[in-house]
């Protein structure tokens, strides 16, 4: 893993971050003056970043290039350099972020056209892209952390973009707080690295991690996982992600589907040298992934909000990725490949959903959709391709990447491997079910529109990115797995791929997955396609459905375990601080005042009592002196 000095264009890779950052700065500081062309600037910087990223990637040639910028913080034995690491792994992410990011910027020009605050929207999007690029390009954990919280901020700003809506404001806050919980883990992991190794740079940490005690490495691994869970909406911190759909749909597509939420996967993949040392932590990653992918899939089945379905789908799909990277070296590439293809099709799905909402006057309830296939042909086709890719329709991208993960799970060979593989296949069936349900409720059947809604196809500026993403959804899997294998591109990062010994033949897995998927589609058709969809959700439903609607009570648990006790504690402490701590002080003052008036009573005004006090004093003085001299 030799690091090459920066040269050529790569030396200017800091521009990748600087361009969108400058865009954000200009748009935010420029104020109303930039209203007219702000969106173009915002899009332009990201397109430029994409072009630069592409050129850098082409120049990379399998090297790891370190770009030193300046000393960020250096004191005592802590030395944090602001530096970038451009290697195949970060290159992949740079292309994903800038590529999908550019498409979504273009889409947003249309989507946000009528919003008076469009300029600010682009500023925030640019800010996000810059922070995300910093996250994946930083050459040390502190830089990663800065980017990590930076994207959190951008996510907060964008979820709360329509902040007049209390639900949006609350969702944004919730996202930030739950992310912060994860960030605590990441921060503690960094502290632990520094305490044990004296460095926080990737090179330093990964080079010396082998010298650490197993327990320490496991601790680092688990803490990093906590951070990853927060950012990627994994159990137990998954509850924020569905709520984050309160943000404008392009935000959901870019941040809460394609890029930011996959940062957790990046973190674990990037920290592969650490996880390689700790099977325990990896097992926990696996467990988290498997659990989350089921939670997401189950919850997705019962949602009526089109974006919520997609959000739970995202939760579930990232679960797949966690499962993959939790498997260790055999899974890293599979997980990352799924991450990339997911980036394409999920972004496409979200943009499609946005297009539908655009057409339906911002309606999100699928029970109010129906029969849109004929009205919105482009949207229908692109969305349909994304759908097929997601459920793993053969030879579309999801098929390749999801199968690889399931295969890898089985390849563990032990009972856990079968369990994980089985869970993954089951979830694939559920995925097919809820996505088919979504398709049927949205595009087929009888229109159930609100009166006065006249669906129409979206403008080209919106459909063009959808088409491009649909193409990506179709081809990406094939390209990344078969044509230009990601595996070999990432070899400099993860080492030569081992020749996998398949426990279950890949073909068997593929057939199995496809069959389960078909079953899921069929079931959905039986439930939704055959029958009339009621306009309001049925109330009398099975407990399973109710639990799924409420996402397995994650919010309820959070509220009863943390929020309400926290509120109670806060009230109690306020009372304690006012009455207890401050009360003690004021009480002391009151006591002094009280004793003052009581003592003051002795000052009766009668000269004889004064004389008595003097006489008493004299006796005491004489007695004291005698006592001292005698004793």
């Amino acid at each position: 893993m030799d690091t090459a000095p920066a040269d050529g264009l790569i030396a200017a890779s800091w521009l990748l971050i600087a361009l969108p950052l400058a865009g954000a700065a200009v748009l935010l500081l420029g104020g109303r003056r930039t209203d007219r062309w702000g969106h173009l600037l915002g899009t332009g910087t990201v397109v430029a970043a994409f072009a630069l990223g592409l050129l850098c990637t082409l120049q990379l040639d399998g090297r790891r290039v370190d770009v030193d910028l300046f000393t960020f913080v250096s004191t005592g034995s802590l030395d944090v350099q602001a530096g970038l690491l451009f290697d195949p792994l970060s290159a992949v992410f740079v292309l994903l972020i800038t590529g999908v990011g550019a498409l979504i910027h273009v889409y947003s020009i249309g989507y946000m056209a009528h919003d008076p605050r469009r300029r600010r929207f682009f500023a925030y999007l640019n800010l996000f892209v810059a922070a995300m690029l910093l996250l994946v390009l930083g050459d040390n954990f502190v830089a990663l952390y800065v980017g990590w919280e930076g994207v959190g901020l951008a996510s907060y700003l964008l979820i709360a973009f329509w902040h007049e809506r209390p639900s949006a404001a609350t969702a944004a806050k919730k996202a930030f707080i739950m992310n912060r919980v994860g960030d605590v883990g990441l921060a503690l992991a960094i502290f632990l690295m520094f305490a044990q190794l004296g460095t926080v740079s990737y090179d330093g940490v990964f080079g010396a991690v082998g010298t650490l005690a197993a327990g320490t490495v496991t601790a680092i691994g688990l803490l990093l996982l906590l951070g990853a869970c927060g950012k990627s909406g994994q159990f137990p911190l998954q509850a924020w992600l569905p709520d984050a759909m309160e943000g404008p749909t392009p935000v959901s597509a870019l941040i809460h589907a394609a890029t930011m939420v996959t940062a957790g996967v990046y973190l674990i993949a990037r920290s592969a040298p650490i996880y390689d040392q700790t099977p325990t932590a990896r097992a926990v990653v696996l467990a988290v992934g498997a659990l989350t992918l089921m939670i997401g899939a189950i919850a997705g089945c019962a949602q009526d909000d089109i974006k919520k379905v997609l959000a739970y789908s995202t939760v579930s799909q990232i679960g797949y990725m966690f499962l993959a990277v939790g498997l260790g070296p055999v899974g890293y590439v599979a997980g990352l490949a799924h991450l990339l293809t997911h980036g394409f099709f999920k972004a496409g799905l979200f943009l499609g959903a946005g297009s539908v909402m655009h057409a339906m006057d911002d309606e999100v309830d699928m029970r109010r959709f129906g029969g849109l296939a004929s009205r919105m042909k482009v949207t229908f086709v692109t969305f349909g391709l994304g759908y097929l890719a997601l459920i793993g329709f053969p030879f579309l991208s999801g098929f390749y990447t999801k199968d690889a993960i399931i295969e890898a799970a089985f390849d563990r060979g032990d009972g856990w491997g079968y369990l994980l593989g089985g869970v993954a296949i089951l979830a694939a069936g559920l995925t097919a079910f809820y996505m088919t349900r979504l398709m049927l409720m949205t595009f087929f059947g009888r229109p159930r529109w609100e009166p006065g809604v006249h669906p129409h196809e979206s403008p080209t500026v919106m459909t063009a990115p959808m088409v491009l993403l649909a193409v990506g959804s179709v081809l990406a899997g094939f390209l990344l797995v078969v044509a230009f294998p990601l595996e070999s591109w990432l070899t400099p990062v993860f080492g030569e791929p081992e020749e996998a010994e398949h426990v279950v033949a890949p073909l068997v897995v593929s057939v199995l997955v496809t069959v389960v998927m078909a079953l899921g589609v069929l079931t959905a058709w039986l439930f939704v396609g055959r029958r009339e969809v009621p306009v309001t959700a049925p109330v009398r439903v099975s407990p399973v459905t109710r639990a799924a609607r409420r996402a397995l009570y994650a919010d309820a648990v959070n509220e009863s375990l943390f929020m309400r006790p926290g509120q109670w504690l806060t009230r109690a402490l306020v009372f304690f601080d006012n009455r207890g701590v401050d009360g003690a002080v004021n009480g002391l003052a009151a006591t002094l005042g009280g004793s003052s008036s009581r003592l003051g009573r002795t000052q009766t005004g009668f000269v004889r009592s004064y004389a008595l006090s003097m006489l008493g004093g004299a006796v005491v003085v004489a007695g004291a002196l005698l006592a001292v001299t005698a004793g």
Binding site: Q603, T604, G605, F606, V607, R608, A611
Partner: protein, 99 residues
């Protein structure tokens, strides 16, 4: 009678004077009790002078008498003015100033 008896007598007189100050209400009487205390001191001084065989103590007693006389002058003046205003020489009546 040894000298100690004189000293004890003086101490008793002093105590009587002090108690008198505490228990009597009339300002004049209170003041007289103070005078009694001073005189008990005189007795003590004279006794000690006798004991040491010098006249220092006796001289001191003269000083005390002179001072006591001056005190009477001042004291009576003050008490008189109070009495003339209030038509009462009771020290307990003078308690406007308190707390």
């Amino acid at each position: 009678m040894s000298l100690t008896h004189y000293l004890v007598l003086a101490a008793i007189l002093f105590t009587i004077g002090a108690v008198g100050v505490l228990v009597r209400r009339n300002a004049i009487v209170v003041f007289m009790c103070v005078e009694l205390m001073l005189n008990s001191v005189n007795l003590t001084l004279v006794t000690f002078a006798r004991a040491s065989g010098t006249v220092d103590g006796q001289v001191m007693a003269f000083f005390v008498m002179v001072v006591a006389a001056a005190e009477v002058v001042v004291g009576l003046a003050i008490i008189m003015s109070l009495f003339r205003t209030r038509r009462s020489a009771s020290v307990d009546d003078a308690n406007l100033l308190k707390y």
